[in-house]
Symmetry: C2
Subunit: 354 residues, 2 copies
């Protein structure tokens, strides 16, 4: 029942990059191609745009003919607004029966031509920043399935990347694992999820319960984290997500060179033991057996020759597996996870990710 | 600047109790008369209703003539809906230039006659469950003034009552103290505030910063708490409120007979030392000097002869002042607060509550 209130996107996608020719502004499109190539049928670029996501070029008609279900705006210009030059294309998409998916600040509903085109064919205009209606209050009631939540010493320390990498590592082992998205880019990649920081405060943990519903006892939900218990702007979001996820396992995400909270130079970053301890203590409210299984560190700010040494020293110090997810993958954490929880692969179920 | 986004109600009030004749459904009206009699000009009851708040009866015209600025719906029928039989009266109020203030679930904007009457005179329709627009993200930046926050071992343990009682106790000492409301009934009593559990999750701590803005160094904001760090449904709200309030002092509110979290029989209530410890630990993020100054216990569930014994034993055990705010007032906590923080009264400022 609860999964009905999660956002649901229809694939395959046509990634719309229009005239945007900078990689920097096409992170959403690049993320889709990197993490869910199986959902991406192609890209639509305006004539003369040399930016290439490495997937087939398609016209809107070709996409519709190929069975594409959604056009996903894969670019985010400065300001996060929908560009007037895109409107004709978006209207065409709607007329051809494609849902339009946007993660931008400006709303698709504010463009009358797009709205009337969508109404004429009954397609959906989906803004992944807008949470679904009808979210419940969190119950704290124990549910089946295994859950691992990414948490952080701060915001923007690689929680989404780590969750996606860990999901892939688990799936490589043949373990049933699903990435669960709580932010806009994650939702586009997963095709479903809830933008947890946009829900009304009373429903944070309830939304988290919806994002990772009850599942098979040997199935892992790998949940994208948000904010940090140590970031004074967003800690409420993080605590509600922790309680609602009732995780069996935590992966702590960290940036090796960060000393203070992002944008809050007066607040020192917690140490990893402090961070682990507070998360375990708070997490025990909804899962008495919660444990921390590893640390994912962004070491890109360190000199190359120090990166492995840093991770090894950290691992020795805190007694946990420490990896850089980009450099090392999350295979070591995945191995530990399935071994510790005895959720080994059933070889006949390889590929069952739902 | 920040205080502009807090809800602001105009007094004096006419309390509207209409045909509701049960004390149980008139808690808002009773709270207004108990806690801010100076704001209440009178009550409006329908003919034959014997429920009496103990303030003068007024017709709508008499209220307008007497300078009443707002009609406040002081009753909450089962279901929380606006009763069709009230509409003619509410229209009259708007036509006479009174703002209409409601804390009910149904919205004043859904009654076209009320809306057009309000438009004709330019009065406001204020739903105190709806947060103001334009809330900032919390900054965690230290601000001047003293703040004491009510927190709880659970929801519904007397946080609002304790905050109001402590404000009165401080004001009796001549200390500059302001009650800061974070819930709907509190907002009506205070005349301003933000319904903190109704804001978008990303803005919880920012809303809390707005609720208790910078003030004189010897001024106390007494902040109404919400939820509990130990309630899995609402802990995110509580943590954001704790961080945004950056309190110097905490008062822990507790119910002497409660054993499990309200509505969550599978979750044991924390002990008071556990509760104090987690609050201090989390609160140190935005105020390194946070301290707990007392405990306010609802002992009404105990046999009369055990109540004082219970409070004394608890005080001996945890080394803090323990009172029942209803039975004892909060005078002892107020005395300790001003003595510990050296914010004693300046006799020339008695009565300056802003």
């Amino acid at each position: 029942m609860t999964s009905q209130v999660s956002l649901q996107l229809k694939s395959p996608y046509l990634v719309f990059i229009a005239g945007v020719d900078s990689v920097h502004y096409a992170k959403t499109g690049l993320g889709l191609v990197q993490w869910c190539p199986e959902l991406v049928a192609g890209q639509l670029r305006f004539a003369g745009n040399s930016l290439d996501l490495g997937v087939p070029d398609m016209t809107m008609q070709q996409a519709a003919d190929a069975g594409v279900k959604s056009i996903v705006i894969g670019v985010a210009p400065t300001g996060g607004a929908i560009d007037d030059r895109w409107i004709a294309s978006l209207e065409d998409a709607a007329k051809l029966g494609l849902d339009i998916v946007s993660g931008l600040h400006s709303r698709l509903e504010d463009f009358p031509g797009v709205v009337s085109a969508a109404q004429s064919t009954g397609v959906q205009l989906i803004n992944v920043r807008t949470p679904p209606k009808g979210l419940p209050v969190g119950s704290g009631q124990k549910r089946s399935g295994k859950r691992v939540l990414m948490v952080g010493t701060d915001c923007a320390v690689g929680k989404k990347y780590t969750a996606l990498a860990l999901t892939k590592s688990l799936q490589k082992l043949g373990v049933k694992a699903t990435f669960r998205a709580t932010g806009q880019t994650g939702i586009m990649i997963a095709g479903s999820g809830i933008p947890i920081d946009a829900v009304v405060a009373d429903f944070i943990s309830g939304a988290a319960e919806v994002v990772s519903p009850a599942n098979d006892p040997d199935h892992w939900d790998v949940i994208e984290g948000q904010g940090s218990l140590f970031n004074p702007s967003y800690a409420g979001v993080s605590l509600g997500l922790l309680h609602g996820s009732q995780p069996d396992a935590l992966v702590i995400c960290h940036d090796a060179t960060r000393k203070v909270i992002d944008g809050r130079p007066h607040i020192t970053l917690p140490t990893l033991p402090e961070c682990i301890d507070l998360h375990l203590r708070c997490g025990q409210l909804t899962n008495a057996d919660i444990t921390c299984v590893g640390v994912s560190v962004n070491t890109s700010g360190l000199p190359d020759h120090q990166r492995n040494t840093y991770l090894q020293a950290l691992s020795d110090e805190i007694g946990l597996i420490c990896v850089d997810s980009v450099m090392d993958s999350c295979d070591a954490i995945a191995d530990y996870l399935v071994s510790h929880f005895d959720t080994h692969s059933n070889k006949e179920e390889i590929g069952d990710h739902a």
